[in-house]
Symmetry: C2
Subunit: 441 residues, 2 copies
């Protein structure tokens, strides 16, 4: 049905205005109906998922992918809980971000507004679909979903359930649509008048392809090449569990580390201990020359520092200074998440200041880089772009702003030339009701 994709997206753009001007109460009501609907339609959803999983097994798709594809009762409970949590978050729409009295009776406000139409291209996890829809409803954004083909039956059952529940709400079901064929992605990339933001999640090659083939703004990250630096003045009792967690707690995650940087002073005593612990955790080590001299490992090859292993493999490099560690991260990193272990406040301060990544951590695991762990309720992904949202993206990253200016007949000519009136530019509290809510002029 690729010929109708354009028409469907244009229709979605139209109906995005309904959600965009809705109240928090209406959006909370809709989230509740969607959550209840998923339980109501659970038999259908389960059956669809069983068929997807059966087909994936027939096609001998890898066990890791199948694990992500499974949508069982536990996942159902998780996504329903997630919808309830997102519903309970503060209303992200219409927040007053700045307020300034430009002159008597001339009030400027910057308020938060939904971005409009989000195009989300995601991987095989059906639970991600529900999470994303929940965040978009709460933030007042319409959503175009394009899921992986291996989850097509599950995604369709989920979206049909969501749409049916939505038709029973005051906001209707026009805010969400599911694209099903791979060719639809190409259509999406061209619709810069209708789609305000693209969030691709998937392989590096795919995300890079999206970024290079559209003039629509793109939020996301291709690589997740994360580093952990163990400083000369590290507390080694803290360092060891952090290393193991950052590499092994979930090696396929983008925020797991690919390279461990160790200060030269720690080679003799600490590095053997690290090697032993990593071996016990089944981690394959790719070591530079000084690492090779200290512990058993595979010699590092040129290019390994650019590898995102996404598996139980780890580069280890010995560095002579904090500067060298920061320089390494600048050269080889992807500006995603990088951490230092150090008890030296000045080393931590320099690491915080000089490492130019979305997430910069001290004395904890890189695996904390996540919207849920950060307290955002959920996330649509992690962004490494320097503009708009950077790092884990929750509701705030799905918001835009607009400036409201309320006057009583003011004209610019009165503030120009000789005898020009002067602007007051007096900052006002953002806690008063906004101009939209009848805030006074």
């Amino acid at each position: 049905m690729s010929h109708s994709v354009k028409a469907r997206i244009k229709a979605l753009k139209e109906s995005s205005r309904v959600l965009g001007v809705s109240t928090n109460e209406e959006r909370i009501d809709l989230l509740g109906k969607v959550a209840a609907g998923l339980r109501r339609d659970w038999p259908t959803i389960r059956k669809a998922n069983e068929q997807d999983v059966a087909e994936a097994k027939e096609q001998q798709i890898g066990a890791a992918l199948i694990k992500r594809l499974v949508f069982d009762e536990q996942k159902l409970n998780e996504v329903v809980l997630g919808l309830e949590q997102v519903a309970a978050l503060a209303d992200p729409v219409g927040k007053v971000l700045q307020r300034c009295l430009l002159d008597d009776g001339l009030i400027l406000e910057q308020i938060s507004v939904p971005i409009g139409v989000i195009g989300m291209i995601f991987e095989s996890r059906p639970d991600a679909l529900v999470q994303i829809v929940g965040l978009c409803i709460k933030s007042g954004n319409a959503i175009i979903l394009k899921g992986g083909s291996e989850a097509k039956r599950t995604n369709l059952a989920l979206v049909e359930s969501i749409k049916q529940s939505s038709r029973g709400s005051s906001l209707g079901d026009g805010y969400v649509t599911l694209l099903e064929s791979h060719g639809d992605v190409k259509e999406m990339l061209k619709m810069n008048d209708e789609i305000d933001l693209l969030i691709p999640r998937g392989s590096n090659a795919f995300v890079t392809y999206v970024m290079e083939n559209t003039s629509i703004p793109v939020l996301g990250h291709s690589d997740g090449i994360c580093h952990l630096y163990i400083d000369e003045q590290a507390d080694l009792k803290k360092a060891l569990p952090v290393i193991i967690d950052a590499k092994t707690q979930y090696p396929a995650a983008c925020n797991a580390i690919e390279t461990l940087l160790v200060h030269a002073s720690l080679v003799d005593e600490f590095l053997p201990e690290v090697g032993k612990a990593l071996k016990e955790a089944n981690v394959t080590i790719h070591g530079d020359e000084r690492t090779q001299a200290a512990i058993e490992c595979i010699p590092l090859e040129e290019g390994d520092y650019f590898n995102e292993y996404l598996s139980l493999e780890l580069n280890i490099r010995v560095v002579d200074s904090l500067e060298e560690a920061i320089g390494h991260i600048e050269t080889y990193g992807s500006h995603h998440t990088d951490a230092i272990v150090s008890e030296n406040p000045e080393a931590v301060r320099r690491f915080f200041t000089e490492v130019d990544s979305a997430d910069v951590f001290a004395n904890c695991s890189t695996r904390f880089a996540d919207g849920f762990r950060f307290g955002f309720g959920a996330e649509v992904g992690i962004s490494t772009t320097k503009i708009h949202a950077r790092g884990p993206v929750g509701l705030d990253g799905l918001m835009s702003t607009k400036f409201l200016l309320a006057g009583s007949g003011q004209i610019v000519a009165a503030y120009s030339g000789k005898d020009a009136k002067r602007y007051l530019h007096k900052n006002l509290s953002v806690d008063a009701p906004s101009l939209v809510q009848g805030g006074s002029v």
Copy 2:
């Protein structure tokens, strides 16, 4: 010297780190040196500008363009004052935007950081160059400047002065470079690893060309098709001067109106008055059928609503309702700046809520859409993109963010599975010193 553009931009990227980690005091000192240097080098700059202006006159370039090109002593005084004002603004770097206690001893902060390397492609006004350099210094961003060829001598003299002054500061002159040939733009558009944000200013066609030919994020606007709607319940004594100001105070500006929407109830009494005032201001009116019946005007042609006249021409359309006015703006507008004149609070509320533009005004001129008038000190331009900065872009729009997480050995595994620790997610005040400044863990 196009062959060396890549090398120069790469070098700039390197030295951008010096500015990026500088203190507010260092940046204020640099701004002061740059301002003093412009006065010191004034004879050279004036001579260069006189040559540019003479050449432009020889080439019979239009008077409006020549007016923009002139950089006289008054302009010098203005830009020096502007640099001093920007220096005095609050430090935009390192502001704590969010702070949250994830768990005991595990503090998350989101702080503001410079975007990095800004690529600015601008029009013929040399004073814009100084303003942009000032905003970039204050915000800690390195800057690649590509000015119009008609201002090439002036731009070069300005940048040489700025660089000489900078070499006498602790931050050096590595943060700024001027590209001179048109071919350099093509090189810039490909350097997505080095340039973090492009801000093109110029013709619609040029801005659209930039947006479609780069994967670097672009901030800006192509069209400025702005509207003013005179509501049924407008105070007509306010409406008339606002109409004249919005169209004629500076017709070449992007925030001047191109179409006036008038409620049908105002056709008989008010529209003739509007027609008379516009005629006195030398404005040519393109009217729809009902306007033609009421006043002298040129009949509107298909497509006129999409015209950005940038001159003393104005469309007038009669509408039957607020909905029709909002619908017109949605259909033909460019989401830049749109205004309503109305004494009806509900009409204003609906206009504020439903008009999806960067700037939405009530009872004042659209010409207020400007960074200086908004109190931002200056602006690099006006953005109509829905992500990152929207509306006039001052220092805030030149900032990115990063998340800092400071712990004491925490690992994610402790918060997973059975016996998982619970997150506290307790929001803390953003007014305490940041983690970078030694805020406590």
